[in-house]
Every structure is written in C-alpha cells, then in structure tokens.
C-alpha cells in the first residue's frame, strides 16, 4: 500500500509503500507481536475515532531515521481516508513465510479500514485443534452465512511455508553428507597411500630413533597440513559460491562466520578420523621390513 508522510514534501521519484493490515485490538497480543514503543489498538479506536496506525520497526527506521515517529501522521492511499496518526511501533513480522525480507508494515484498526476478507487468530490454552469445533460454532453465531475456511495452527502455516525450503535443505544436506562421507573415504585412501609410499622413510626414522608418537605426529602433521590447505581452498570456494544459496538461508547470512568455522571443524574432525588408522598402522611398521623392502 502506498503511503505518504504528512507535512513532508513528496518526492515524485520515490514511491513509499508498506504492507498494510487491518487488525482488531487483540491482534498483537494474540499473535505475540511485541509492542516496542507507544501503544496497540483499543476498542476506542473505532470507525468514529480519529484514524490511527501502528507501524513496524523497519518502517520506523526507514521513514523516520533518528526520529521518533509516534505522533506523526501518514496518508495511506486507501479510500481517500484522512491522515492517520502513528500511535505505536511493533516488532517486524514475516507475514508470508520465513523467506520474507524485512519490509515496512502498517497496521490499522480493522473497523477503520474494512476489507472483504478476514482471517481470525485465536490463542487457546487447550490443544489448538480441539478448539476448531467451538470456533466454527462461534463464527456461525456471528454470521450463519459465513463459512469458516481452513482452521490451522500457526505452526502448521509456518510448516507449510517451510515445506519447499525444508525439502531443498534436506536434499542439499543429504548430498552434503554423502560428499562428506566420500571425502572421508577419499582422505583415508590418500593417507593410507601416503603412509604406504612413506614406508621406507618411516622405517628409516624409526631406525634412527623415532618413537610411535613421533611417527604418529609425522603422519598426523601431514594430514593436518593437507587438511588446512584443503579447508582454506574450500572456504574461499564456498565464499564465492554460497551466494547461490542465499535464497535458501533463513536467519544466517551466506558468509556466516560461525557456520564456516563449524564446517571447518567438522571437516578437520573427519580428516583426523580418516588419518587415524593409517597413522596407527604406520606406528606398527617393522623398521627391518621397511628397510629391507627398499
């Protein structure tokens, strides 16, 4: 919905818009949307009362940066209604799904901006599904002609909005797990091959005084150097391509340091596990056999 800030000159090149919702006074507490500043709506904000509006934090920050918007007025391009005074600021809400970006949102009392479609939000103390029957009865008492559409819990709506991204995430996760497993086997193979190739060297070192711990650290050191190089190259590659995944990420950025650190730690753990057996095998090498095989 397009809006204009009253008393502020209109820039014809800038189109200010925000999502616009007509809600009842109990909407915010029912939905658990915190009021950050000012107030929500009351029964007194009826169709005869002066127009009021509640905006979200994003709209407040974008339209009145560094200012307090409470008390200011906006003109919403809805039925040529008069300016509405901002009475409160609420937290941002993802209305459509978890992929929603932060966007300006405006709420006005439903009675001041009636709309032909209505959704009812009910907060229950009992199990939500068991309340469906009584909800239908209450609605029928209000308007017997009105059919209640689907009655679902908020969790179900969230789950439905998440279905596609969740499936995608599971798919990507499964492939990533498979890749990790293959990488683990690959690393094991490389380390086992490397130890086999270094039999002579290990035999000589043992003949010159290397103990099991020395041999273990020799093999582990090589694995860690390889791993560090691999992880570094992988991180650079990941930083370049994770932008592709941007649309599938909620609550984290594509370059999230914690995620990168976690994945690096997982890969290094896989590396250590993959290097463990070859390292142990190397410590059991008989130097005589290794030297004679030369």
């Amino acid at each position: 919905m397009v809006f204009m800030v009253e008393v502020r000159p209109v820039d014809p090149n800038v189109r200010t818009s925000a999502a616009f919702f007509g809600v009842s006074p109990d909407y915010f507490p029912a939905m658990g949307i915190p009021i950050v500043e000012g107030r929500g709506f009351t029964e007194r904000d009826d169709e005869r009362a002066p127009g009021v509006i509640v905006i979200n934090e994003t709209m407040a920050a974008r339209t009145w940066p560094g200012e307090n918007p409470i008390g200011k007025a906006v003109i919403v391009s809805y039925n040529d209604t008069p300016p509405r005074t901002i009475v409160g600021i609420v937290a941002d809400v993802k209305q459509g799904g978890l992929t929603d970006r932060r966007q300006p949102q405006m709420y006005t009392p439903f009675v001041q901006a009636p709309w032909p479609f209505l959704a009812t939000v009910v907060r229950t103390t009992a199990a939500p599904q068991s309340a469906a029957g009584s909800l239908r009865q209450a609605l029928a008492r209000l308007d017997p002609e009105q059919a209640a559409g689907e009655i679902r819990t908020l969790d179900e709506y969230v789950a439905r909005s998440m279905a596609t991204p969740r499936f995608t995430a599971i798919l990507i996760g499964a492939f990533a797990g498979l890749a990790l497993l293959l990488a683990g086997f690959g690393l094991y193979g490389v380390m086992a091959y490397s130890v086999a190739q270094r039999r002579r060297e290990i035999g000589i070192r043992m003949a010159l005084g290397a103990r099991e711990a020395d041999v273990r650290s020799l093999v582990a050191g090589q694995a860690l150097r390889m791993g560090a190089a691999g992880v570094t190259i992988g991180l650079v590659g990941a930083l370049l391509v994770t932008r592709i995944l941007d649309s599938l990420l909620f609550g984290v950025t594509a370059g999230d340091p914690a995620t990168f650190a976690g994945v690096s730690a997982v890969l290094m753990t896989v590396l250590i596990v993959a290097a463990y057996l070859p390292a142990r095998r190397a410590t059991r090498l008989d130097p005589i056999v290794a030297l004679r095989a030369d």
Partner: protein
C-alpha cells in the same frame, strides 16, 4: 663387557616347522673393539646386527648391553637405550631423499630431545669434521655414493654414540670410496668408538680387531686380527 649375547635364536614359522635364522649365538664384545661379522649371504649377519641395534625384537635368548638386560626391556626402553648409545650405518645409506644433507643429519638429534640451538651447533660440528660443509644444502640424489655414505656415517655418529653398527657400509661403493669410509671407521675406533660391521670384504674386515664368522645362523669361528699397528691402511 659392552655387549653379550647368550643363546640368541631367531626363527620363522614355515608350514608346520620353523626355519632358523640364528642358532644359539653367543657373543661378547668389549668396549673399543672393532669387530667384523662375516659369512655367506643368508648366514644371519644383518640379523645379528639389527638385534644388536635393537631394531629387531623378535628373538629369544639373552642380550646384555652395558650390563642392561635388553631381552627384558620394553620397546620404549630399548629405543631409549638405542638412541643413547648406538649409531647405525646402512648399506644403502638410507638418507631421506626429500631432505637436504643438513636436515638428514638433524634427524637423529630431533628424536633425542636436543634443543634446536644445540642441534644447529652439533650439525655444524659434524659437517666440519667430515668436511662436507659445502654439501649441506644438497639433496642425496645430488651426491655420489661415497658422499652419501659419508653423510650416512656422519648421521650415525652425530649423537656421539659409544657403539657404531655398520651393515655392509661399503657394499655399494667403489673401492676408493670404500677405503675412505673404512679409514673413517678406523679413526672413529681410534677415538674410542666400538665398531661392529657386517662385511663380505676381507679387506674391510682387516681394518678391525676381530672377525666373527657366521654360517647358517651359527657362529662357526672367531679370530683376532693382527695388532693395530699392522691393520689395513698402516702398511
């Protein structure tokens, strides 16, 4: 006595029986001796040497090294004893190809809790003593066989061991290079090191003070060499 072997035997199972590599070997070696172990191929010479060097622990019998019962020591204790007192020279030099001469010489010290500073000083000393300072940054494949064995001997003595074990140290060298290495052994022996070498060469054996003959795993003969003044190279 520096080294004593008592009824040392080594064998491998083959089918239902066993094949013996060493049979009831008894051996005494005093400090300062230069002993040559000789015998035909398969006689067990290298096996004795690796037992003495504590690389091989799969044998039976008794082995006393500086009065310590090696046969009763665990692998860690044997390794410590080896590191403290024994240097080993291999026939095939066994230098590490991807390390420079300097780094090859540093390896035994790195396993002996020698500080980095002391290691640098000890490697510098040995390079100087063996006159291979100019080769310190070269890799083994850039050296001749004689030079590689020189590095091999330098590596064996860098930690100042009392005993040097050498497994056919001139086996892969030209006569002149072999002579140079044997002269080096003799000078090490003259400065107090006990040397035990395995050799097929009568000439090399003549550098020593005693020859032990092995055949089919048995010690068949022991003979003292002529007095030091008439040993090889003194003619």
């Amino acid at each position: 006595m520096l080294i004593s072997l008592r009824n040392v035997e080594k064998s491998y199972p083959i089918g239902v029986g066993r094949v013996y590599v060493l049979r009831r070997v008894n051996l005494d070696i005093r400090e300062g001796e230069f002993v040559s172990i000789m015998g035909p191929s398969g006689a067990g010479k290298s096996t004795v040497l690796h037992i003495l060097g504590m690389h091989d622990s799969a044998w039976s019998g008794e082995y006393y090294f500086m009065d310590q019962p090696v046969h009763r020591l665990n692998p860690k204790q044997r390794s410590e004893l080896h590191k403290k007192h024994i240097g080993f020279v291999f026939q095939s030099y066994h230098l590490l190809d991807n390390l420079t001469v300097y780094e090859n010489l540093e390896i035994p010290l790195s396993y002996r809790n020698v500080s980095r500073k002391d290691r640098q000083s000890m490697v510098a000393d040995i390079l100087d003593r063996f006159q291979i300072v100019g080769k310190k940054d070269l890799y083994p494949n850039q050296l001749s066989g004689g030079q590689q064995q020189l590095v091999g001997v330098a590596r064996a003595v860098i930690a100042n061991p009392q005993v040097i074990l050498a497994d056919e140290p001139t086996g892969n060298l030209h006569t002149a290079q072999g002579k140079e290495i044997m002269e080096l052994f003799r000078s090490l022996n003259d400065s107090g090191a006990t040397i035990i070498q395995v050799t097929h060469s009568e000439v090399n054996a003549s550098y020593g003070t005693r020859i032990i003959q092995l055949r089919d795993g048995w010690v068949v003969d022991e003979e003292a060499q002529p007095a030091v003044g008439s040993r090889a190279g003194d003619h």
